[in-house]
């Protein structure tokens, strides 16, 4: 569990990082928090010849409030969200979610952009991105482009970011005041990657759901937004029966794959549970 040898570069700007990516081509690899990349290098599953360390690039650090959305620099640490970065429902929701990502020390190093680029099917930030309709700002040799979350995730561990590109910023649209949010995940132990997780946001008036956002993660190749179910929720009473029924519907819409911690069939059942519970929490939050 010692990595193969590599060379190391520490660019100070996005353009310098892009130049290094261009220079080293297939051999170059970005390292952010290193919490996923370093373990796989130690197992020699990844053998990059050149590491391009983006931790020192000031322009892609931190969170800024842009009025209708939050702009998150790619190397913003998970721990930044331990306290709400904004008093709006989105800011509070990110704080609920972050507590489920790994463990405290890992959250001090791991980055928002690293999670999205790594695209683990059980990544909480990836679930947030698809459910909230995030937009990714990708920089490459041809300049910057923006890719909506729906087109960003291509499969397990694969995204729209090309080998010669870098994810610079993520824009998360805010939720209007009055929306409630709920997150629920099930993992074998506290801090483990989820076996299933769901994120819900509801606007509830007089006990009736007026608008909904719903996403499901860790069940399938990448997190997905369940727009059909969002539509079904709208107009329904915010009751346990509704949420259970939506959970049951979700079971029929997902195609999980199994691993040693849970078979496909079991994850399908978990999907129903986490969806119903996330919706319940969102309704409580909205009340």
């Amino acid at each position: 569990m010692k990595p193969a040898s590599f060379s190391y570069h520490k660019p100070g700007s996005v353009s310098a990082a892009l130049a290094l990516l261009a220079q080293f081509g297939e051999e170059g690899k970005i390292i952010a928090g290193g919490q996923s990349l370093v373990p796989s290098m130690n197992f020699r599953l990844a053998r990059p010849e050149t590491l391009i360390d983006i931790n020192h690039i000031a322009e892609i650090q931190g969170v800024s409030d842009q009025g209708d959305h939050l702009e998150i620099g790619a190397v913003t640490r998970h721990a930044t969200f331990h306290h709400p970065v904004s008093p709006c429902p989105l800011g509070r929701m990110l704080t609920k979610v972050v507590a489920n990502i790994a463990h405290y020390p890992i959250r001090q190093r791991g980055t928002f952009g690293g999670s999205l680029s790594h695209a683990d099917p059980a990544s909480e930030w990836c679930l947030v991105a698809v459910t909230m309709g995030a937009e990714m700002e990708i920089h490459g040799p041809a300049g910057a482009r923006r890719v909506p979350a729906a087109q960003f995730f291509r499969g397990t561990f694969t995204t729209a970011v090309g080998r010669d590109e870098l994810l610079a910023r993520i824009r998360l649209p805010k939720l209007p005041e009055g929306w409630g949010t709920g997150f629920y995940e099930f993992s074998r132990r506290k801090g483990d990657f989820a076996l299933a997780m769901a994120l819900a946001a509801l606007k509830v008036e007089g006990g009736t759901i007026r608008a909904a956002r719903l996403g499901l993660g860790a069940v399938g190749a990448h997190p997905q937004r369940l727009e059909a179910l969002e539509a079904e929720l709208t107009g329904q009473p915010a009751t346990p029966q509704t949420f259970a029924a939506i959970g049951a519907r979700a079971q029929t819409m997902v195609t999980p794959s199994g691993d040693i911690h849970g078979s496909a069939e079991y994850r399908r059942e978990l999907a129903a549970t986490v969806i119903a519970r996330a919706l319940t929490r969102a309704a409580e939050d909205a009340a």
Partner: protein, 760 residues
């Protein structure tokens, strides 16, 4: 003759080991370094079973910084690794070589070994070794018929090295007239003790004295010293083992493995210090696994639910080779399966089966964690059939006090199984009272009525401890009042230094501050049995008591001579000997006058042919989440009679740590293989040890109601009872919450399995 200050024995004094550890001054295997050292790396088989052909090492040897690359041919003079303790015959052919010959038998089997200037280079070089392996179909299920072990080179040798048979009473006759028969089939998953410190060793060769010293030893330094010397064909004085701090033992750590031998062999042959530190992936592939047993139980019961006969068969999947533990796990499982119950007729056949997985050895409560799970499942099944509560069914089957000492009529580890002391019913009643069982049951019923899935369960166990045959310590008393106890015991983190200092201080009426314990150094004492089988406090502790008494004896003789007074008229208290007439002398003064450079020296040797048998009960209260199958342990208690608690805080620590591991095996930890024999669990991402978040506060009911008559302290070991019935109690509680008797038949209780049982 002697009257002492308040006795240290029995007090919860703080561990004397802690200051060094807590201030970062510990010296673990990886902390040993020598100028000029080189690093060893083992290339391991990527396949589960295959015929080993040529191994191309040319590229690896050509890599700059690589000093040597060896395969089995290069170390042809090294024999197989022998057994440390087993009386079972016929296991010899199944011993592991230091590097695989002819066949590889598990993913992780050492194929070649590289020595290089850095650990990084050594790992790079391993990537450049190309073995030819003709893959074969692995045997993965121990219940399948035994298959050829190494088909071409050892024709006729099958993968069942031994079947252990034990029994007493006429089982057939009882079954012929049985009122009812209860049958169960159960299994316990493959998991193991996982020390946070991986294995490691530094081998240093001194050319002038032709002596090898291995740093990083653990558990059984003296035995391993002898075994390594034998394998290297050196006189035993030319090999020394030295123990530093040890980051957890639990059974696997400290046994003799191929790497230990290779480090010692290589430092002499290459003439440079050789360091090897196991990485975590290697650890999961190569350090002993454990558990993995399958039981078939058949009990004849009477109308009251009392077991009249037990006919048992089990299969232990011991992996690829028979390692140092030989048949220990199966032997103990067979011997202690009947546990605390009378069971007048008993018969067992324990099949040791080899498969193409990592070899297995002992893990805390070997054979008892498994057999307690199986037996207590059986007891629960009988209770369900008879409509009895968990306390009543056990009360009806327990061995009554007037039958103790109880001779089971069978043996374990070559000793006769005689439960030396015990008040089994009494402890059951105490647990019931401590839990306020009726009120607790009522509360649970009320919560169930509200729809919660709550369950209660208990598991009764009998442990064994204090394995002989003997233990020796040497005690030095110096003129400045310092005491040094030299012992061949090992410290695997269990608090041995504290306990030994307490026994010495308590016996001599002296404070602990001046007492130090030197252990795990073969240079300092010529024999020692080490730390395993919960033997240290019983065996070494008794030897320390005897040595302390011998010192006093010697001092009284010296004082009598000095005063010219009869010895019987002398009195001793807290380091001073005096006579009513006014004569007085301290131990320090005697040491200055009569002791040489080594001070006053006394030896204590304690011998024992019988083990002592502590016993206890685990209780678990669980809550199930029907939406996920998740199990939450709401409450956990262990009632445990240890005969005498030298240090109740240490006992509590042992229980708490052991329960945590027991919960791991019951709910989280499992080595899983795919159909090709590839291990799917090779990191902590998949091997789920419970963390502080998963472990509830552990309540303990430590009792000293049945001291052991077999040693001067009355003590029984407390190292393992905290884990023994954990799987049993949790399974019982989970089944109670599910509400369908008989469904919970295997560990671990993963959420998916629990969800399946809940669904029905």
């Amino acid at each position: 003759m002697t009257e002492n200050a308040p006795n240290l024995i029995g007090q919860s004094v703080a561990r004397i080991e802690d200051p060094e550890l807590l201030t970062g001054k510990g010296t673990f295997a990886a902390d040993f370094n020598r100028a000029g050292q080189i690093h060893m790396r083992v290339l391991r088989s990527p396949v589960a079973f295959g015929r080993l052909g040529g191994i191309d090492t040319a590229e690896a040897r050509a890599l700059p910084g690589v000093i040597a690359v060896w395969t089995a041919e290069d170390i042809a003079d090294l024999p197989q690794i022998d057994f440390r303790m087993t009386k079972v015959q016929g296991l010899g052919p199944y011993r592991q070589w230091c590097l695989a010959r002819d066949y590889v038998r598990y993913v992780g089997d050492p194929i070649a070994v590289v020595f290089a200037e850095t650990a990084f280079l050594a790992e790079d070089a391993c990537d450049l070794i190309f073995p030819e392996i003709g893959e074969l179909d692995p045997q993965l299920d121990p219940l399948d018929d035994p298959s050829p072990y190494m088909p071409e080179t050892m024709p006729g040798v099958l993968s069942e090295p031994a079947v252990l048979r034990k029994g007493s009473g006429d089982v057939e006759a009882v079954f012929a007239h049985a009122a009812e028969v209860v049958e169960l089939e159960l299994s316990v998953g493959r998991h193991s003790g996982i020390p946070l410190e991986t294995r490691g060793a530094l081998g240093v060769y001194d050319r002038d004295s032709d002596t090898i010293t291995m740093y990083g030893a653990a558990k059984v330094p003296h035995y391993n010293r002898g075994a390594i010397a034998d394998m290297l064909r050196l006189p035993v004085e030319r090999v020394h083992l030295s123990e530093g701090h040890v980051g957890g033992g639990f059974g696997p750590r400290g046994e003799l493995y191929p790497e230990d031998v290779l480090v010692c062999y290589a430092c002499r042959r290459l003439g440079r210090p050789v360091k090897w530190i196991e990485d975590r992936r290697e650890h999961f592939l190569s350090t002993n696994h454990s558990r993995d047993q399958h039981y078939r139980l058949k009990a004849a019961i009477d109308e009251r639910g009392v077991i009249q006969a037990l006919d048992a068969e089990f299969f232990t999947d011991q992996g690829a080779y028979v390692r140092t533990h030989g048949a220990t796990v199966s032997d103990l499982a067979a011997a202690l399966l009947p546990g605390p119950y009378l069971i007048p007729a008993y018969r067992v056949a324990g099949h040791i089966r080899l498969t193409n997985k990592t070899p297995c050895g002992t893990y805390r409560a070997p054979g008892r964690y498994e057999s307690s799970f199986a037996r207590e499942r059986l007891i629960d099944a009988i209770a369900a059939r008879k409509g009895l509560d968990p306390f009543e069914i056990r009360a009806r089957n327990l061995i009554p006090e007037d039958r103790i000492p109880f001779d089971r009529g069978i043996d374990a580890l070559g000793t006769h199984v005689v439960y030396d002391s015990g008040k089994y019913h009494d402890l059951l009643a105490r647990l019931r009272a401590a839990l306020d069982w009726d009120a607790l049951s009522a509360r649970v019923a009320a919560r169930r009525a509200e729809g919660e899935r709550i369950g209660l369960g208990i598991g009764y166990f009998v442990e064994k401890s204090g394995l002989g045959p003997d233990d020796k310590v040497r005690l030095h008393f110096y003129p400045d009042g310092l005491i040094c106890i030299v012992t061949g015991v090992a410290n695997i983190g269990q608090g041995v230094e504290t306990a030994m200092a307490q026994i010495c201080g308590g016996t001599l009426g002296l404070p602990m501050a001046g007492i130090s314990i030197l252990h795990g150094q073969t240079r300092l004492i010529d024999e020692g049995r080490g730390a395993f089988a919960t033997r240290v406090t019983v065996m070494t502790g008794s030897a320390v008591k005897l040595a302390s008494e011998a010192l006093l004896d010697q001092a009284l003789d010296l004082a009598a001579g000095r005063f010219g007074l009869p010895r019987e008229e002398l009195r001793y208290r807290a380091g001073r000997i005096w006579h009513e007439g006014g004569a007085s002398v301290t131990l320090c003064e005697l040491a200055a006058e009569y002791g040489g450079e080594d001070g006053l020296v006394a030896e204590g040797i304690f011998r024992s042919d019988h083990m002592t048998y502590p016993y206890g009960i685990h209780f678990a209260q669980v809550k199930l989440d029907p939406g996920t199958g998740g199990v939450q342990i709401e409450r956990y208690m262990v009632a445990f009679d240890v005969g005498r608690a030298i240090n109740p805080m240490l006992v509590e620590g042992q229980i708490t740590g052991a329960v945590a591991q027991g919960i791991g095996g019951a709910l989280y930890e499992e080595f899983v293989y795919d159909a090709a024999g590839q291990p799917l669990v090779t990191s902590f991402a998949d091997y789920l040890m419970p963390t502080a978040m998963e472990i509830p506060p552990i309540e303990t009911l430590i009792r000293e109601d049945a001291p052991s008559p077999l040693n001067p302290l009355g003590v029984k070991g407390a190292g393992e009872g905290g884990i023994t019935a954990a799987g049993a109690a949790i399974a019982s509680a989970v089944e109670d919450a599910i509400g369908r008797p008989g469904v919970v038949d295997r560990l671990p209780l993963t959420p998916e399995r629990v969800a399946g049982w809940l669904r029905g």
